[in-house]
């Protein structure tokens, strides 16, 4: 059953530019996909490791800036992408070493500080980053001769990258390493006593998260053909976090839903409801207070409750209950 749903969803996504005529909406879809990658990457830390980062836009931005600077200095797209991801991994390693000195709120604050430093460099080191004016690139890549300049082509390329990202993250989540990671979130004390190397597990998770944040950053760069300090500001990190927690952390679908919610709000709704920032903040507040586990688990809970009310009577279940699939949707 689940396979059928997945296959249908995949088909729908693949055909999207064909059944959505307006290129504006196809572009929205591309944005949703690239931000979904970013949200999934952040969720590796927030949801699976239990480490909340409010500075992840820094990694996103470092990739984009590194890529932009490489391209504008004559590198081919392939070289630029590799360079950008390498830079992001190095940055992620540095971030991790610093941030993992703290736990809980301390971790959060360190990521805020790091994020602000990255933003400060982007904003002020004008000779390199062009400051507030940002850096523009004027080409998109043409992998295998297929130019990504057109909206549908860019969408399909983004979709492919998205599918690779989701698959990679799903595999890790279902793996022994993924289970170890979630263990460190739930009972770090016990995990150490059981023989696990908590710091190293978290460090590797940070690198993995950083890598995909960088991928999203490069997609962002190619989408806008422009990068500016705004993409690295505290607000950007907050938005990413919002995507994760509004959709529901610790699942695969949650961050994707969250990304869709935020991107749609940002682009489509703002045309009709003027103060989208307010609405976004309000949703944030409402979710944290009323549906802290996020929209996806919250809706599942709501659906189960409704179904339970509809069934004639429920006999006491004493046998095996289906465990909540941690690595599934």
């Amino acid at each position: 059953m689940r396979r059928l749903t997945l296959a249908l969803a995949l088909a729908a996504l693949a055909m999207l530019p064909l059944w959505v005529g307006n290129s504006y909406y196809v572009n929205i879809a591309s944005q949703i996909l690239l931000y979904a990658i970013f949200a999934l990457a952040l969720n590796v830390l927030v949801g699976y490791a239990g480490l909340v980062s409010l500075g992840h836009a820094g990694l996103f931005g470092i990739a984009a800036y590194a890529g932009a600077l490489a391209i504008n200095n004559g590198a081919t797209h392939l070289v630029a992408i590799v360079a950008a991801l390498a830079a992001t991994l190095v940055a992620a390693a540095a971030f991790a070493v610093l941030a993992l000195r703290g736990t809980g709120l301390g971790f959060v604050m360190i990521t805020v500080a790091i994020g602000q430093i990255v933003w400060g460099v982007a904003y002020r080191w004008i000779s390199i980053t062009n400051g507030d004016n940002g850096v523009a690139i004027n080409t998109r890549p043409s992998p295998f001769g297929l130019s990504l300049t057109s909206t549908p082509n860019f969408y399909w390329a983004t979709l492919i990258v998205f599918l690779v990202a989701v698959t990679a993250i799903a595999i890790v989540a279902a793996s022994p390493f993924g289970a170890s990671l979630r263990g460190t979130r739930d009972q770090p004390r016990r995990m150490t006593a059981l023989g696990y190397h908590i710091w190293l597990i978290r460090f590797l998770a940070f690198l993995f998260s950083g890598l995909w944040s960088g991928v999203a950053g490069m997609l962002f760069l190619y989408y806008n053909q422009f990068i500016s300090p705004q993409a690295v500001a505290l607000g950007a990190s907050a938005e990413a976090l919002l995507m994760v927690i509004s959709g529901g952390s610790g699942t695969l679908l949650g961050p994707i839903v969250g990304a869709a919610l935020v991107v749609i709000m940002k682009n489509v709704v703002s045309a009709y409801i003027v103060r989208w920032n307010f609405v976004l903040g309000a949703i944030f507040v409402a979710i944290v207070i009323f549906m802290p586990e996020g929209i996806v688990p919250g809706s599942v809970r709501l659906a189960r409750w409704c179904l339970a009310k509809l069934r004639p009577q429920v006999t006491e279940v004493t046998g095996a209950a289906t465990p909540r699939p941690e690595s599934g949707l």
Binding site: V52, L98, R101, G102, T103, G104, L105, G106, V108, M109, I110, V112, A113, I114, Q116, I117, W119, G120, V121, Y123, R124, W125, I126, S127, A233, L234, G235, A238, L241, L242, I245, V274, R275, N277, F278, L280, G281, A282, I283, F284, V285, V288, I289, P292
Partner: protein, 286 residues
């Protein structure tokens, strides 16, 4: 030489303003363990309130006080209606204050528009005064005085009064404080309002220097964070000293290393957070 003295003078004045901003943050964080990410927005809100009050004919000082009270009331509502629902869930509280800051920023944009608005320097403090042979804007001197007065008042409040004793007890051990009969939840509301009010008041006082504009909240919040981390949460003395240190870092950083201005600001914060991972954001071990 002149330039350095002027910079120093501005740093001290800015430090005074930062103290007004961060004292509230420090109290809230010290007692309630919430890094109140709404703090910058409250600063901005106070300034905008004053803009309206002044445009309706109120003088600068009455407007400053009234705006402060207004923001304090708003802060009280936020605490009672929202933060109270998440007792002890520090992360959730951080996120709620973050969401609120977005909301407040947009309301201000709606209410007062996107252009920077300047607040006129109160007439009695216009012009420059001569200090040790140098001309220095009188208002900035006044600001330093205000900061010192507020610092002294706060210190007196925390050290000498019953409320202050309850605050200190609550900071040390909220559980025992409750057992001893201190209504910790009401205390939280009072402290949050006080912190908010101070921020709002600070926004007005900073008005003649900084003006009010969308984004002021995002500019001021990180500064409050840095001050509190450098100076230690819940410590007014720490906030006082930290404010001036940051004032100097900010101004001299901007002047000497314009390209790394924010790095100069946030690097010390990062260093302290990294070297004292437990100390500032964890409960201090017994």
């Amino acid at each position: 030489m002149n330039l350095w003295l002027i910079l120093a003078g501005n740093s001290i004045a800015f430090g005074g303003l930062l103290f007004l901003l961060s004292a509230g943050f420090s109290l809230i964080f010290g007692l309630m363990r919430i890094p109140n990410l709404t703090h910058g927005s409250l600063f901005m809100l106070g300034a905008y309130f004053a803009v309206s009050l002044i445009s309706w004919g109120l003088g600068f000082w009455p407007a400053a006080i009234l705006a402060g009270l207004g923001v304090a009331a708003f802060g009280g509502l936020v605490e009672r209606l929202l933060l109270r629902r998440l007792p002890g869930a520090e992360l959730a509280q951080v996120l709620v204050t973050l969401g609120l800051s977005f909301m407040i920023a947009d309301i201000c944009l709606l209410g007062w528009g996107g252009d920077p608005i300047s607040i006129a320097t109160p007439s009695e403090l216009r012009g420059a005064s001569r200090i040790a042979g140098f001309a220095f804007p009188t208002y900035r001197l006044g600001l330093i005085v205000i900061a010192i007065v507020v610092a002294a008042t706060l210190w007196g409040l925390v050290d000498k009064t019953r409320l202050g004793a309850m605050i200190r007890a609550g900071v040390d051990d909220p559980a025992i404080a409750r057992v001893v009969g201190i209504r910790v939840s009401r205390l939280f509301t009072i402290v949050f309002s006080l912190g908010a009010g101070l921020a709002g008041f600070a926004g007005v006082i900073g008005g003649p220097i900084l003006s009010v504009y969308p984004g002021l909240d995002q500019d001021m919040l990180p500064l409050a964070l840095v001050v509190v981390i450098l100076g230690g949460s819940g410590s007014l003395v720490g906030s006082f000293i930290g404010s001036f240190v940051v004032g100097f870092l900010y101004n001299f950083g901007q002047a000497m290393f314009p390209e790394l201005a924010y790095v100069v600001l946030f690097l010390p914060m990062l260093v302290i957070l990294v070297l004292r991972p437990q100390g500032l954001f964890g409960r201090v071990a017994a």
